[in-house]
């Protein structure tokens, strides 16, 4: 083998030794001067998608949201909403490959607030803001018609089953944790977990790693029976939308006039978001007193839960911080120093090659970990606070005489409007 090394390489090594610099400081082989009139080509650089088109996406989103809100509240048309959602599925899903989306934009906002070196693009910011502002006035019309992830699941609702309320409420708490984690991991610059575990992006792109496609198909199959599982059990943006929608000014209503309490709408809703009229039971003095006692108890629990959550969060910051590649690498080298000799460990080899000192890495990891400690407090406190408020809401009864959609959870899909018999004769006119 050694004999076969051609002279040029030999000369080159000699040259290296002479120059004494292994990096790119010198061009090893000078560029030839051609005699045959050869013209050197230049590398092609295909442009990325133009910014004008990015703004066009925002315009499309705005148009879809406006149209959907009009269809849900004024026109009261389920069919219209369905077609708009199919358009969104095709445009934001299959044409735009599922990126950019409002759900993922949470992380861009979080990162841009906490990382001064990262600047959010106006498109991402608008994708984050517009649906929330619309939800504040018109309910979750974004979920009804503009979200491609919602649309693909909505089309596959085949035989929705209804789960007991306590299971739904427990499952409905997962998005809060997911949201908190996603913000923490994005703010510390560790990872964008919402994008990494986006179940449908692989389907939109018709390409992707196994896990993505597998998750997507699982969710779609599950969605045949538990309608829109991602939206109800995972979607972190849904948490924010739900807060907004709860206080929406004009929310979609089931019936355009007086409710006849036929219960048809409740059966039509695949998401169990229609609440029946509240019986006057809670007005009975004993029940009312019992509820008041629980209410006071729960209010007292809120600060306790917040503190407890924060404490647990800060205690788990060491585990959480391992998501960050630098912390992970530093720990790996400390616990397994023999890995430094391991040629196959690319991360360690690349770190050793990069010339950064180990102390520097540890220093950076310590800074990141201290961020995680603060973040752990915030994350745990946030989860505890939301848990407390959710508990409190369990004993807050509002008078409800008609069947009404739960404004926070309702996706404004409009199925119930289609089923309402009150509207039928009106429509005939």
């Amino acid at each position: 083998m050694i004999k076969k090394i051609p002279t040029r390489i030999f000369v080159f090594f000699l040259f290296l030794v002479m120059v004494g610099n292994f990096m790119q400081a010198q061009q090893r082989f000078p560029k030839p001067e051609f005699e045959t009139g050869y013209v050197q080509p230049s590398p092609t650089t295909p442009e990325p998608r133009s910014i004008a088109l990015e703004y066009f996406d925002v315009a499309v989103l705005l148009a879809v949201l406006s149209l959907a809100s009009w269809l849900a509240i004024r026109k009261r048309s389920r069919r219209g909403l369905l077609w708009i959602s199919i358009f969104s599925l095709v445009y934001f899903g299959f044409y735009r490959d599922g990126c950019i989306c409002s759900i993922g934009a949470i992380q861009n906002v979080a990162l841009s607030i906490f990382d001064p070196t990262y600047a959010i693009s106006i498109t991402a910011l608008l994708f984050f803001l517009l649906p929330l502002l619309f939800a504040l006035f018109f309910g979750r019309t974004f979920c009804a018609a503009a979200c491609p992830l919602g649309a693909i699941q909505d089309l596959l609702v085949i035989h929705p089953i209804s789960l007991p309320s306590w299971i739904r409420k427990t499952l409905g708490f997962i998005p809060v944790i997911y949201l908190g984690l996603a913000v923490l991991l994005a703010a510390t610059g560790s990872d964008f977990i919402i994008c990494r575990y986006d179940p449908f992006v692989g389907i939109f792109r018709m390409d992707g790693p196994f896990l993505m496609i597998f998750l997507g198909i699982t969710f779609l199959l599950l969605g045949m029976f538990y309608a829109r599982p991602y939206c109800r059990v995972f979607c972190p943006y849904g948490v924010l939308l739900s807060w907004m929608s709860k206080f929406s000014k004009w929310h979609m209503t089931i019936t355009p006039s007086a409710c006849i309490k036929c219960k048809l709408c409740k059966d039509s809703c695949p998401f169990d978001t229609i609440e029946k009229p509240v019986e006057q039971e809670y007005r009975i003095p004993e029940v009312s007193r019992k509820n008041l006692r629980r209410f006071i108890l729960y209010i007292g629990l809120i600060p306790l839960l917040t503190l407890l959550g924060g404490w647990i969060g800060s205690r788990s910051h060491i585990y959480l911080s391992r998501v960050h590649p630098d912390v992970y690498l530093a720990e790996l080298i400390i616990t397994n120093p023999e890995l430094k000799e391991d040629e196959a460990n690319l991360d360690i080899q690349a770190f050793l090659e990069a010339g950064k000192s180990f102390e520097q890495l540890v220093e950076e990891a310590v800074v990141i970990r201290s961020k995680f400690k603060k973040g752990g407090w915030a994350l745990g406190g946030f989860i505890g606070l939301v848990l407390g408020i959710t508990l409190m809401n369990q004993v807050v009864f509002r008078r409800r005489e008609d069947y009404e959609p739960h404004k926070g959870d309702c996706f404004s899909c409009g199925r119930c409007m289609d089923y309402c018999p009150v509207e039928r004769p009106l429509r005939g006119k």
């Binding site: 076969k4 090394i5 051609p6 040029r8 390489i9 990096m23 790119q24 400081a25 010198q26 061009q27 090893r28 082989f29 560029k31 030839p32 051609f34 005699e35 045959t36 050869y38 050197q40 080509p41 590398p43 650089t45 295909p46 442009e47 990325p48 998608r49 910014i51 990126c99 950019i100 934009a105 992380q107 906002v109 841009s112 607030i113 990262y118 600047a119 693009s121 106006i122 498109t123 910011l125 803001l129 929330l132 502002l133 504040l136 990872d191 994008c195 990494r196 792109r205 390409d207 992707g208 807060w243 907004m244 206080f247 929406s248 690319l346 991360d347 690349a350 770190f351 090659e353 990069a354």
Partner: protein, 191 residues
């Protein structure tokens, strides 16, 4: 609290909360925007001076065939007959596949004039494995380099190669300067 009909306590609270929520959301957005100086768009790109040619670009991209391709920075090329990026170490200087370093034979070798050869990357075949980049950097001028091709890149919110890149070579770059091509061999020191 007004006693007007149709404006009860609940409406009052609802309106108050709505305004608060609206201001919070807009405020968060505005704050996020003040942190950004220009609000311009970003795309992902590989810094060839940081890249250690680990080969993950070929496997970690969300696309089945990576959006990362080898780009030939001709400015740097020495047009060598014995190309460290083209030939396997110790191979015969013939274009047979067994002599080529590239697993997909994506590099075309073309005779220009004695003793110079031009090397052209066929991007259709290139899988971004960086074998040629490694070879050229080790034995030659380092004119082969990896770049994310923006006609192929989906511009994911979080580049999945970037999160596993061992040398942190992939970062967001302004969309109006989407490529980092090694032009002049001194620019490595500047950058």
């Amino acid at each position: 609290m007004k006693k007007d009909k149709g404006y009860n306590r609940r409406d009052f609270i609802n309106n108050g909360v709505r305004i608060t929520l609206g201001l919070t959301v807009v405020g968060t957005g505005a704050f996020a925007l003040t942190q950004s100086t220009t609000g311009k768009d970003y795309v992902w790109q590989i810094d060839p001076f940081k890249c250690t040619q680990c080969g993950r670009c070929a496997t970690e991209c969300v696309k089945a065939t990576s959006a990362v391709k080898c780009v030939h920075a001709y400015d740097l090329c020495g047009y060598c007959d014995l190309c460290g990026g083209y030939f396997k170490p110790g191979a015969k200087l013939e274009t047979g596949a067994e002599n080529q370093l590239c697993p997909t034979a994506a590099i075309q070798r073309k005779f220009i004039e004695e003793p110079y050869f031009e090397y052209i990357i066929d991007e259709e075949l290139c899988i971004g494995c960086a074998k040629c980049v490694k070879g050229c950097s080790a034995f030659g001028n380092g004119s082969f380099q990896l770049q994310i091709r923006h006609d192929l890149c989906l511009n994911c919110n979080q580049c999945s190669i970037a999160s596993t890149c061992p040398s942190d070579a992939i970062s967001r770059v302004p969309a109006d300067k989407p490529y980092i091509i090694k032009g002049d061999f001194t620019s490595g020191e500047e950058g």
